[in-house]
Amino acid sequence: MAQWIAACAADDIDSEDVIPFEHDGKDYALYRSPDDAYFATDGHCTHEKTLLCDGLVMGGVIECPKHNGRFDYTSGKALGAPVLVDVRTYPTKVIDDTVYIELP
């Protein structure tokens, strides 16, 4: 059953940046866009098991730090080789400066 999990404080993520979040043994990546919207994806790249949180966030895109696979972090869409499979995204919300992520 889906549940909202408190993940971090809104200011824990710099503008246009990403941080890791772990819950129940699973890795996630949390993003803050330049206009202060928050997004969440699976923690790992879909190409190889590399944590996305070490990658560069720019222009609505997260780039995997290992092989430069790029995803639109707002939709999870894979943007071309070497990544062919979209990364899963999760709904987020901010209440009282706390970022929540909805996990299944």
Binding site: D54, L56, K66, H67, N68, A81
Partner: protein
């Protein structure tokens, strides 16, 4: 004229080119000629994992005809025909040579020496790695050091012999190479730089490697990582210009009409470095070349100016290099709060031409990516700003001075 585009070589470059042709809208035939199925080479010197770039189903779905196990033996550039070892003659509209490279061998025999290029090489070597085994690695470049790290991590007693005065002398700046050398020493690897191997001889207990400095090393397993030789024989026999690689222009066109070459086998002039001819041996270059060559085969005129980029995994450390370190006339180092050093190479006029760093995990990736973007824009950043860990590189990228 045939409507087929033929790609010779089903490695990273050739396979990517095949898919890129479809992505670019080519709906004619694509024939991919490969001795082996398309698989990833980077893991061979690291984890040893066998990972396909794509399965047969993906090739089929994209309408790519894969001639598995086929060997190209002759190219008739006037007649636009490729001949295979089994006698088949395949006419083409355009053809891409993505024949890659082979491991360079030591110039002398005396005892069995492993090399690493193919999955079979990796399997043969890994079968011999075990705790306590004495492993001698000849060559302190990327492949040699990744193998040294793999062998040491499996409990081997590893010695690395490097002819040059330090590790990775060709592509990596000294300070960054020193970080990796320190990691190897911590893992117990014996590094012998500045000495060559003069001979190998089998003994009752293994192999004796004699060194130019007069000493000798006893080993159970010897592996050479002494560079690669581009596969140019098909091109050369067809009269196509070669010079330590198949010579191409900046859109990967060879001296023969409608014949292109890309990836490890080609030598192309790089627009970012005054047209300096480069032969790159890297996974990402192979991919990017494949995509660019596909566009060129369909009539694209844009020169390829992607920034050279390498990575290497050794133990829990990753090394990344963007640009060409040997183009640097001076260096600037940023020491981050986590003590990781980011090295920047500037040309005489101040333009950023290279960046490199090594550190745990993927901790250097963002900074090197940002540096790569600065290099691509021919940025002339303020050295004081580059050196200041308090200034985010992202803000340097956004400053008008960098544009």
């Amino acid at each position: 004229m045939s409507d087929a585009i033929i790609i010779v070589g089903a490695g990273e470059c050739g396979t990517r080119a095949a898919f890129a042709l479809r992505e670019e809208g080519w709906d004619g035939r694509i024939v991919l000629v490969g001795a082996e199925p398309p698989y990833e080479r980077p893991p061979l010197s690291k984890t040893g994992e066998y990972k396909l770039i794509c399965g047969g189903a993906a090739l089929g779905e994209a309408g790519i005809t894969f001639l598995a196990g086929a060997e190209a033996v002759a190219l008739d550039t006037a007649g636009h025909v490729l001949e295979l070892a089994d006698g088949r003659r395949l006419p083409y509209r355009s053809l891409l040579l993505a024949t890659g490279a082979r491991a360079r061998r030591l110039p002398f025999g005396g005892a069995p020496v492993h090399v690493l290029r193919s999955h079979a090489d990796s399997v043969a070597l890994r079968a011999r790695l075990a705790p306590g085994r004495r492993i001698a690695v000849i060559g302190g470049g990327f492949i040699g050091l990744e193998l040294a790290a793999s062998a040491a991590s499996l409990g081997g007693r590893v010695t690395v012999v490097e002819l040059g005065p330090r590790l990775m002398g060709r592509a990596v700046p000294a300070r960054v190479a020193a970080v990796m050398a320190g990691r190897h020493v911590k893992a117990g690897v014996d590094l012998r730089c500045g000495t060559g191997v003069t001979g190998l001889a089998p003994t009752a207990a293994g192999i004796t490697i004699t060194l130019a400095e007069g000493t000798a090393i006893e080993a159970d397993v010897v592996v050479a990582g002494v560079g690669s030789v581009p596969e140019t024989s098909l091109a050369a026999a067809a009269g196509i210009e070669t010079d330590d690689g198949v010579v191409t222009d900046a859109r990967f066109a060879t001296s023969a009409p409608d014949v292109f070459a890309a990836g490890d086998c080609c030598r192309y002039p790089h627009p970012l470095y005054d047209g300096r001819p480069l032969r790159l041996e890297s996974w990402r270059a192979a991919q990017e070349h494949g995509t660019a060559a596909a566009r060129a085969m369909l009539g694209g005129q844009a020169p390829f100016d992607g920034v050279p980029w390498f990575w290497s995994d050794q133990y829990d450390y990753t090394l990344q290099v963007a640009g060409l370190a040997d183009e640097a006339a001076r260096e600037v180092v940023r020491v981050r709060p986590d003590d990781t050093e980011i090295w920047f190479g500037l040309a005489a006029g101040g333009r950023l031409v290279a960046a490199a760093a090594a550190g745990p995990g993927n901790s250097v990736a963002r900074d090197i990516k940002l540096a790569e973007m600065l290099i691509a824009r021919r940025a002339v950043p303020d050295p004081a700003v580059l050196a200041d860990p308090g200034v985010a590189l992202k803000s340097v990228l956004r400053s008008p001075v960098a544009g």
